[in-house]
């Protein structure tokens, strides 16, 4: 699924990553616990999170997350935006809750990282 389709499905604002809308996203994951995100390879994965801190950006950069979506309409502060830009991490903000956002992506065919791992 292309990042542009994720943006549309989630009615999201794109805050960083104008140049990456054609990027292919292979799977999705959701979580507010950085420890959980750090336990699995995240290449090609879009991560949905309700945690709106600099640490979520750094965790995403460290684990190789392809794109980050903040749920419940959370907007990153300028420091988060600058950090994401510096590392080329696309960041979106969706008005939907975590459950609804994940469900909308799933119903469009995007699958979780557990399925990606079991292949």
């Amino acid at each position: 699924m292309q990042l542009a389709a994720i943006k549309e499905t989630l009615k999201a604002n794109l805050l960083v990553g104008e140049d990456k809308l054609a990027m292919n996203i292979e799977a999705g994951a959701g979580g507010d616990l950085m420890s959980d995100l750090l336990r699995r390879p995240m290449n090609g994965v879009v991560v949905l999170s309700g945690l709106n801190t600099l640490q979520v950006i750094r965790t995403a950069v460290i684990t190789g997350v392809a794109a980050l979506v903040l749920v419940r309409g959370k907007e990153p502060d300028p420091e988060m935006v600058a950090e994401a830009r510096l590392h080329g991490l696309p960041v979106l903000s969706t008005p939907f809750t975590m459950f609804t956002a994940c469900g909308r992506l799933f119903s469009q065919g995007l699958r979780g990282i557990d399925q990606k791992l079991s292949e």
Binding site: L38, R39, T53, Q55, R58, T63
Partner: protein
């Protein structure tokens, strides 16, 4: 002789900067041109160790070594030390503060995750004596 040896300092309770060292380590390893999966494992260990120092430690340092056969990281802090290392290695065991949990950390996965992602982990710590982690990664000949 190591082909690279670099020391970084880590400030306790400096939540805003937590993770900067690990990101710098990742950048250095990328420049050397190491395998992406290995870089991911080293970066995750650097990040977990750095966060541990920020959350629990006094100030500390991370020393990165790269030589043709291995990557090593020695992470030291002069914090309160680990009272029970066996317990600290258990998934889910945590002594983190509420502040740490609000940032998504403190789930008790840090040390277990370092063990999982490295080829060797040694912990030297005592209550009141600070903590030293020695983390190693083998570089396999392809």
């Amino acid at each position: 002789m190591p082909i690279l040896s670099k020391r970084f300092s880590i400030k306790a309770r400096d939540y805003l900067r937590a993770g900067e060292v690990a990101i710098e380590v990742k950048g250095i390893l990328k420049k050397i041109g190491l395998d992406a999966e290995l870089i991911r494992r080293v970066s995750i260990c650097a990040y977990e160790a750095e966060i541990n120092v920020v959350l629990h430690g006094g100030d500390g340092t991370l020393h990165l070594f790269v030589d043709p056969s291995a990557i090593g990281m020695v992470v030291r802090d002069n914090g309160p030390g680990i009272e029970n290392i066996e317990l600290a290695m258990k998934e889910g065991y945590s002594t983190a503060t509420e502040e740490a949990r609000e940032m998504g950390f403190g789930a008790g996965m840090g040390l277990p995750n370092i063990k999982k992602n490295s080829d060797g982990l040694k912990i030297d710590s005592e209550k009141g004596m600070g903590t030293l982690l020695a983390i190693s990664f083998d570089l396999k000949e392809e």
